[in-house]
């Protein structure tokens, strides 16, 4: 029986941002940043509190309304959820501070700016809900909230390009939700429950309906995670949004649907997973890693470069799947499985910090110079050294250079590819890193260019807060490389992965 304080604590990551959103909707605009930040910090504290609860008491469940599954909806707090909750909080708070300063600075302010805080807090609540909820249909509603809030944030500036990109994003999100929901319906029809845990136990895995349900849900979530070739909506949407929104979209929103893919793969449909499907996902991921990084290299505008970089980095996330799925007829030990699992999640964490830092840094450059072109960064190392350094730190993690979170992730990934014998992923990983290094060093080279090359133009004033938050996130991307043990031990608490570690059979599913 879960204690009262645990029940309260487990609801806080969802309830606190929502209360903040409601308040920020009604109070005068000049107060919204302050209240918003107050609730941001409290939500972060609540997420840490929940992690502490996890560490001391293990898996926690909260049956909403007092009804247990399958009739009621269940919240489930385990290590995986805890890790993502903390990631969202640790990225969300600095981005919030950045936003407060950024919107004050950027004139003329667009009419949508007062809505930033209500929308962002609503979005944050939905992300936390997605991490915690264990009910398929509830997840659908949360995904819709996430989509509505994300698109509304993306169009905040009101510029024509943002509006069009936002509508495209919305259509993609809706189609994704519909595909997901169709899969949910087929799954419910097959098993009579919507609870993730109960489904995992009782789904008739060999049934064709279940496989099709799995495929549909995956297709929907893959659109939302923008895996190549379903990434068509992302570059425009993320690049035409305001800087703090781009950071939120790239660092956090795409991770939520990825989180769900992980859950489905490992917890719900682990009986229907096939080796071929895993390899296919990995192949798409590998192509994405190369293609996205290549496209980023070709861009002449800063924000588009960073957005294409997201497409590439997301590809790395999907290399986790072939490495956690054993080939049919495998016998014996498979010690690389846990490290592959950890590597994929680490990639998500490191990317969260690095990409948000990069988008914020680029946002500062654009604000300072007033132009999105590559040439804006000329000689920036002298004029905005903190921001350039933040960009460099972020780039280090994205490339996978030591010491950074990205390095830890890619190193573990490479080790897993070799110990599992799936050596063919390695060239793709390395190639992607080279291309990433290409665009990162291109920008850095421009920023170090001597002052004769740069037009001597006065920069727009850049508040220190903007630079400090970008730098903080960049440092976060590096620091996370040093705290691997804590993250790994947290992940192990009630890990859904641990139970699914078995070879797949010829037809799919586990023995």
């Amino acid at each position: 029986m879960i204690s009262n304080s645990s029940k309260l604590l487990s609801m806080l990551p969802i309830v606190l941002p929502l209360i903040g959103a409601l308040l920020c909707f009604v109070i005068p605009p000049r107060w919204r940043s302050f209240i918003g930040l107050l609730f941001s910090w409290s939500t972060l504290a609540a997420c840490f509190g929940l992690v502490w609860l996890l560490a001391t008491r293990g898996l926690t469940e909260h049956h909403l309304g007092g009804w247990e599954a399958p009739l009621g909806i269940r919240l489930r707090i385990d290590g995986l959820a805890g890790v993502f909750l903390v990631l969202t909080g640790m990225v969300g708070v600095p981005v919030g501070h950045f936003a407060m300063s950024f919107f004050k600075q950027k004139q003329p302010a667009s009419r949508g700016v007062p809505f930033f805080w209500p929308l962002w807090l609503f979005l944050w609540a939905s992300l936390n809900g997605i991490f915690l909820s264990a009910d398929l249909f509830n997840l659908y509603v949360l995904l819709e909230i996430m989509g509505l809030a994300a698109v509304s944030l993306a169009i905040l500036s009101g510029k024509a390009a943002a509006l069009l990109a936002g509508l495209r994003y919305f259509f993609a999100a809706l189609v994704g939700s519909m595909l997901y929901l169709m899969g949910v319906v087929l799954a419910y029809g097959s098993a009579g429950t919507l609870d993730l845990g109960l489904l995992g136990a009782s789904l008739p895995a060999e049934s064709i309906t279940v496989r099709i349900a799995f495929a549909l849900m995956m297709a929907g979530l893959l659109i939302k995670t923008a895996l190549f070739p379903l990434h068509f909506w992302l570059p425009e949407a993320h690049s035409s949004a305001e800087a703090p929104v781009s950071a939120i979209l790239s660092a956090l929103v795409v991770k939520a649907s990825f989180y769900l893919i992980l859950r489905l793969w490992v917890e719900v449909f682990d009986g229907s997973v096939t080796f071929a499907a895993a390899q296919a996902l990995g192949a798409l991921g590998g192509v994405a890693a190369v293609w996205g990084s290549y496209q980023a290299l070709r861009q002449t505008q800063l924000k588009r470069m960073v957005a294409h970089s997201t497409v590439g980095q997301i590809g790395y996330l999907f290399l986790i799947f072939p490495l956690i799925t054993l080939s049919p007829g495998w016998e014996g030990e498979a010690p690389w499985l846990t490290s592959a699992w950890t590597a994929g999640i680490y990639q998500a964490l490191a990317h969260g910090f690095a990409k948000s830092a990069m988008f914020l840094a680029v946002g500062i450059f654009v604000l300072a110079v007033g132009s999105d072109d590559k040439s804006s960064v000329l000689n920036m190392v002298g004029r905005l050294p903190m921001t350039t350094f933040a960009f460099a730190l972020a780039g280090t993690s994205l490339i996978g250079l030591p010491p950074s979170g990205g390095f830890v992730a890619k190193w573990m990934l490479l080790k897993a590819t070799f110990s599992s014998g799936q050596w063919w992923w390695a060239p793709l990983i390395v190639w992607g890193s080279f291309l990433t290094a290409g665009y990162v060093f291109m920008i850095l080279r421009l920023s170090f260019a001597p002052s004769e090359a740069a037009p001597v133009k006065a920069l727009n004033p850049v508040p220190k807060t903007l630079e400090v938050t970008a730098l903080a996130l960049g440092i976060g991307a590096i620091l996370i490389g040093f705290r691997a043990e804590e993250v790994m031990s947290l992940l192990e608490i009630a890990s859904p992965f641990a139970e699914s570690v078995q070879p797949v059979t010829e037809e799919g599913g586990h023995d």
Binding site: L71, F137, Y140, V141, E144, G147, L148, V151, S152, I155, A160, L163, L164, G166, L167, R168, F170, F171, L174, V175, M178, L181, M182, V185, L186, Y188, G189, L194
Partner: protein, 102 residues
């Protein structure tokens, strides 16, 4: 072959689902895309209710009904937002589709 009525509706739902999915991509105008997405949702709801109508104890499963009502409200909210956004785009740029040349 003994066909249950709910099976008929379920198969129809599948047909409409696929038609609407093709429609979302193939229709060029924002307005028709929005209608196609609503049809997509409607087909899923039809499948859901037909699952709920499988003869269990004489009365239908209430959970799919609740899911459909929720889904209807979500669909209309999303449609209202999409319509507003599409109209704003039309107002500012005159476009009615993504691949317009106008």
């Amino acid at each position: 072959m003994d066909i249950e009525p709910h099976q008929l509706y379920a198969v129809t739902a599948g047909m409409v689902f696929c038609m609407s999915l093709a429609g979302v991509f193939l229709c060029r105008h924002f307005f028709q895309k929005i209608i196609a997405i609503n049809m997509l949702g409607a087909s899923i709801f039809l499948l859901l209710v037909s699952i709920g109508a499988r003869d269990e104890d004489g009365f239908p499963d209430p959970v799919p009904h609740a899911m459909v009502i929720t889904g209807l409200v979500v669909a209309v909210s999303a449609s209202a937002f999409a319509l507003g956004l599409a109209r704003r785009i039309h107002r500012t740029t005159g476009r009615t589709g993504f691949s317009d040349t106008e």
